[in-house]
């Protein structure tokens, strides 16, 4: 589902974020991406979503080489990806409900069908009763769950999460990992970057570890 072939990424100025990275993630797999901050985890996720492009090597998502995709094709790649950000990237000019609605509006969904889906996603993350609030009124953990609801409302095949439990205490982290696991159980492919030890204690989940931009 996600394949890296000898991928290197150098930022302008010469900083080498990824060095000759190769791996493969099968469909329906759940994988942790670990390593110290600055090890290249975020860069790796950005390459999958084609936010950044590699200097050499190829990144394949669903057998499609995303590093050579045309600008106009990027939106359709991203609709197959659910993105969860450490800083949530929520919009504070609209309600909780409308934040989750945005991906469906982008895809041109029927409004009535959309409402059902938005409520289902909010229910899954336990925010159904807060749909009318502005996200600014939510706690950090709730904002992160809202970000997850927005990422899954479109039922993407792949979910990418960048430090989803980064600023949260252990209880919140556990809740969020449970949401991910339930999404994994319905067949989605998940790649979760984290350096949160309480999360990594979870045995039976494959790990990809980066150190200074190279696989360990």
């Amino acid at each position: 589902m996600i394949r890296f072939n000898q991928v290197s990424k150098r930022y302008p100025g010469g900083y080498e974020a990824l060095k000759n990275v190769s791996f493969n993630i099968a469909e329906g797999e759940m994988v942790f991406l670990t390593g110290h901050s600055g090890a290249g985890k975020s860069t790796l996720l950005k390459l999958i979503a084609a936010i950044e492009h590699p200097n050499s090597g190829s990144v394949l998502v669903n057998n499609q080489n995303v590093s050579v995709l045309k600008e106009a094709a990027l939106p359709y790649l991203r609709r197959n990806l659910g993105l969860v950000f450490q800083d949530h990237k929520l919009l504070f000019d609209r309600s909780v409900f409308d934040n989750v609605l945005l991906p469906l509006q982008i895809c041109g969904f029927d409004p009535r069908e959309s409402s059902k889906r938005v409520r289902a996603a909010l229910d899954k993350v336990g925010l159904l009763k807060r749909e009318k609030l502005n996200p600014i009124a939510l706690s950090g953990g709730e904002q992160q769950r809202l970000c997850i609801a927005r990422a899954i409302v479109n039922r993407p095949a792949i979910l990418l999460a960048d430090e989803p439990t980064g600023n949260l205490d252990a209880d919140y982290s556990r809740e969020i990992m449970e949401i991910f696991r339930s999404f994994h159980q319905v067949g989605a492919t998940l790649l979760i970057s984290t350096h949160d030890q309480s999360v990594l204690e979870d045995e039976g989940v494959r790990r990809i570890t980066l150190k200074s931009g190279a696989l360990v």
Binding site: I51, R78, R79, L91, Q105, D110, P111
Partner: protein
């Protein structure tokens, strides 16, 4: 289909919300557009009214032919025949120098002065009514008649009508120039507001890009914003014009009374008003489109 209309209603609502996000700023923007457009639209309205006024005036053009003082019955008779046979002339009226002098003595305060003259200084004259009324043909006709034997002077009497026509043409050109310049101003105003909108919504644009929004989807709300702002500006223009006409008609009624006329300024008709609204909507859309094309591509997700 309901999905599409639902989304458009959403776009219109959110455009209105954003225009009036800061009510004073929104109203000022609309006022700027309204004032900018009301100048050329006002000139256009005045021209339309001037044209109606010109049409109402009795304005059959006439040519006065003054004969040389040496003219005798024979020349008068030959001119009369030539006029009767001329294909471009509908009719003519002969006024003898004696009749003219009598009429002048009766009509004017110059009676005493004329009494004092030892001979009649006035020439014989024909008043000619042409069949045509286009300025160029009339001028040619006048020049032709002036060449005839026994005629000292041929004068086109409705010169003023053509002067008015020329003035209206000048006014039209002015309206066109003003209209072009201020349309550019409207585009510039929209261009700038949209630029600011894009900056304030930078975050939203980034997020939308990350979630898979196409450029068309991101562009849409800004185009709606520009178009609706333009439309509201057009409505402001119509209100400004209506108020201007109402205010002007009060003193105008007094002026018209002096000329025994009931002339009043008329507002633009439905067709013209609708055109104005569509035009301002289009200009707003165009300004937004230019701004979005220029500024949107610079925003990339980090």
């Amino acid at each position: 289909m309901t999905g599409k209309f639902g989304h458009q209603r959403f776009l219109i609502q959110s455009a209105l919300r954003r225009i009036f996000a800061s009510p004073l700023g929104g109203i000022l923007n609309i006022l700027v557009i309204g004032i900018a457009l009301s100048l050329p639209a006002g000139v256009y309205t005045l021209l339309k009214n001037a044209q109606t006024l010109a049409e109402q005036l009795p304005g059959k053009p006439e040519i006065s032919l003054y004969l040389t003082t040496k003219s005798n019955d024979q020349t008068i008779e030959s001119i009369r025949t030539r006029l009767a046979q001329h294909p471009e002339i509908a009719g003519s009226l002969f006024i003898s120098r004696d009749d003219a002098l009598k009429k002048m003595q009766q009509d004017s305060s110059l009676g005493d002065v004329i009494e004092a003259l030892d001979r009649n200084p006035l020439p014989d004259a024909f008043v000619v009514t042409p069949r045509v009324d286009s300025a160029a043909v009339l001028k040619k006709l006048r020049d032709e008649l002036a060449q005839w034997d026994g005629i000292a002077l041929a004068q086109l009497d409705s010169d003023w009508a053509y002067k008015l026509e020329a003035l209206i043409a000048l006014g039209r050109m002015l309206a066109l120039i003003l209209g072009t310049l201020l349309s550019l101003a409207l585009i510039a105003v929209t261009f700038n507001t949209i630029r600011l909108q894009i900056l304030t919504q930078r975050e939203e644009i980034e997020v939308a890009r990350l979630i898979g929004a196409t450029n068309a989807f991101i562009r849409q709300p800004f185009l709606f914003f520009g178009a609706i702002q333009g439309l509201l500006g057009g409505i402001a223009t119509l209100l400004i014009l209506a108020a201007g006409i109402r205010l002007s008609n009060v003193p105008l009624a007094d002026v018209a009374l002096l000329y025994a006329s009931d002339f009043r300024l008329q507002a633009l008709g439905w067709g013209d008003s609708l055109s104005l609204l569509l035009f301002s909507l289009y200009l707003g859309w165009l300004g937004a489109w230019l701004s979005v094309s220029r500024h949107l591509s610079r925003i990339r997700p980090q």
